[in-house]
Structure formats: structure tokens, C-alpha cells
Symmetry: C2
């Protein structure tokens, strides 16, 4: 377990006061089951806590970062950030799964890289930091590893394209985004809509779809791609 | 609005630094809609935050209060505490709804005492305290108005009887609770089961039901009632 403490210290700058809490966060239920006679605690209680810690820290961040976003938009953003897939990615990026104590069967079934396990471990780790170090240290960690990703739009893919475009563009204040049908084509039974998206009056792209709604989504997707390419170049 | 500040001061001992935050928490969307020209903020953003604050504070309380409860039990307890019905009751107990700014239509429809509105206002109020006063003051308030209710089993009614009995009895450590079928009676097509519940070997009651499961629930209900009467006398 020496390695785990060192890893957490190196990656997150945190030295645990009670190393047992950290070990608990990295003990899968399958390992505890394999060693039932030793009454080993698994990560589930810390995961329960960590889930709520993440929910609040992310909510608080979004609340202050986007003072003009209505509640619905905040809720959608939060959902895309704290969902299992996003948290699993973080766990993998910081190599948390390598240090998990796993049962034999689970290991053989490639459980170590299962998204649900990765997500559980990330939540349990956050729970452990909260219990051992307190809220401020949790926030410091998230400021380093999660909040910048939110700012850069890394979680937008969890949203539909129109929502994602809105998030991205309205990050620094309200802008006008308009969708309008600029062409209808094809025979009645195969009608296609062409929708243009304009941002503050400037065209950001066009999309084609079998319905107005689908064409709007396609247009938003084109605009997102254009913006992403502009940012990368 | 003078009255609202005084009410919050009297009931919770809190003096808001930014009175606008408190007003926002007590402004229903229907009121903001009625005064659309004034761009009034409604309670929804604070409710979004307050919901997450409650989730964490209750999780943290349960986590430390019941160090031997597995995650599943903590999750069930938390759900019964933070659900809309429970929070609506709290809002009403502390007379929060009286101070809500409500739209005309909503007022006429008796919206002021609707459980969903009561719950929203309670969450928004907690969100406002968190924003204006910080987590420690939120916890102080919950220590006064919510946590004692958890300790006394006020939220057990949200659980099935067997779970509720377990929560109540295992509050101070693990005890053995056993259910056993002591009689089967009636003809085949109307069979009834009689189940006895024993706690640390002592009989706490019997229940009858058309299935073993139903009879166990009935027995747990009898035991709960017995314990509640014992506590009241």
C-alpha cells in the first residue's frame, strides 16, 4: 500500500492523516468478500459520501461560475459532469484503478477497467479526501483536475448539440443564437430541411435533416466543430 | 420583507449579510413571471444548490452517526429524509411558506401550501444560507431542526416496516433480528402465514399475511408499534 500513498501524494499533493481511510476507498467489495474472515471494509460507504461531495462541489462551482444560467441549464451541466462515464475517465486519467484491491474473480473478468468500477473508485477517493482532509482540500483537488475541464467544455458531449453550443457560447454572457430554415428540398416523402445557425447575426454553419429539429441539431454540430477547430489552431 | 428577515432571525438565529439572497429564496417563479418587466430572480437556482447542500449534509451526518451501516442502508435512510414530503413538512413546521412571494394565479390555486412548493422553498432557503453564511451555519441549523428528528426515527415511515425496525433497533449497534414462520393456516387457496419477530431472542410480536414476506412486514409493524408505545409511556 506504500505505493498508493505515494501515488496520491504525487498526483494530488495530499498526505492522508488516517491511511486506513485511503485504503478503504481503494478496496472493492469483491476483495472484501474474498477475505470475509478479516472483516475488511470496502469502498461503498465512502462512495456514498463522495457522490454527495461531488454533487455539491460541482453545483457550487456552476452556481457561481454561471450567475445568469437558469436552473435547468445548471442541472443539465451538472448531470453531464458527475455522470459515471465522466468520472470513470478521470479515475483512469489519474491512474486510480491500478491501486484498487480487487477480488480474484473480478480481476479475471477485467473488472479493473470497467467504467462502473472506475467511477465508484473516483467517488470513494473524493469521499476519503473529504473525511480525512475536509472540504477545502477536495475543492483544491477539483480546481486542479476537474474545474478546468468544465471551463474548456470537456463535458459538452453529454448534451445535445444545441445545448452544447449554447453552453459554449454563453459561457461569458448571453449571446443571441438563432436557427432558421433556409431551404426545404426533396419530394414530399423524402423532404429535407436545411437550417442555418446564426450567432449574433453571423452564420456559424448549416445542417441538414429530415425534420426541422434534426436539421437544427446538425447545424449546431457543425458550429461546434468549427469552434473547436478554431480553438485548436 | 422586513418580516421575513425577522422571522429567519427568530426561528434560526441567522442574520443575512445580503438580504437579496434571502428574498430570492422566497420568490416563486410564478411571482417573477407576474413581474416579468422587473427581471426578478426566482428561487430555482438556490433550490438547485440547496438540494445538493442537503444531500451532502445529511449524507455526512448519517456516515458518521452510523459507522456500521452498510451503504445500502445509508442510501435508504438518506432518501427517506431528503424526499419532498419530508422537506415540505419542515418548511411548514417553520412557517416558511407564509413568506413566499407568489404569483396571483398560484395563490388562487392554493399553491402556497402545495407540498412541492414547500419543499422547493425549504431547499432554496438552505441554498441561501449556504451562499450567504457558509456550510457551518447550514449545519448549525440542521443540528437544531433536522438531525434530532433523524435520531428519533421521524423518517422511518418512509421505509418498509422491516427496514424501519432494523434502523430503530440497530441505532446503537448491531442486534440480531430474526423472523420465523410459527404457523401456517387456512386451506391451500387461502393460506395464511404467521411470522414471529424475535430481537436478541425475545419475541417482539407476531404478524399474519398471505405470504411469508407480507407476514414478516406485519410482524415488524407490530414490533415498531410496541416500541413506539413503550417510548411514549
Amino acid at each position: 500500500m506504500k505505493k498508493l500513498f505515494q501515488h496520491v501524494k504525487d498526483k494530488f499533493g495530499v498526505t492522508f492523516q488516517d491511511e486506513n481511510v485511503l485504503i478503504e476507498a481503494f478496496t472493492h467489495s469483491s476483495y472484501a468478500n474474498d477475505h470475509r474472515d478479516q472483516q475488511i471494509k470496502n469502498l461503498e460507504r465512502l462512495e456514498f459520501l463522495g457522490d454527495a461531495v461531488l454533487e455539491l462541489t460541482v453545483s457550487d462551482y456552476l452556481y457561481h461560475k454561471y450567475p445568469d444560467h437558469p436552473e435547468g441549464q445548471l442541472t443539465r451541466m451538472r448531470a453531464s459532469i458527475v455522470r459515471a462515464e465522466s468520472l470513470a475517465k478521470l479515475a483512469k486519467e489519474f491512474d486510480l484503478h491500478t491501486y484498487v484491491r480487487l477480488g480474484k474473480g473480478e480481476e479475471q473478468m477485467n473488472g479493473r477497467t470497467r467504467p462502473s468500477l472506475l467511477c465508484d473508485v473516483f467517488e470513494a477517493f473524493i469521499g476519503a479526501v473529504f473525511v480525512d482532509q475536509g472540504m477545502d482540500v477536495v475543492i483544491d483537488i477539483l480546481k486542479a483536475i476537474l474545474f478546468p475541464k468544465i471551463d474548456s467544455g470537456a463535458f459538452s458531449h453529454g448534451m445535445d448539440h444545441k445545448t452544447a453550443l449554447q453552453e459554449l457560447l454563453q459561457r461569458n454572457g448571453v449571446v443571441t443564437i438563432e436557427y432558421s430554415v433556409v431551404d426545404k428540398r426533396g419530394p414530399d416523402h423524402e423532404k429535407e430541411f436545411v437550417v442555418e445557425v446564426r450567432v449574433e447575426g453571423d452564420s456559424f454553419g448549416e445542417g441538414v435533416g429530415r425534420s426541422k429539429k434534426a436539421a437544427e441539431q446538425a447545424a449546431a454540430k457543425v458550429a461546434m466543430k468549427m469552434l473547436e477547430e478554431a480553438r485548436e489552431s
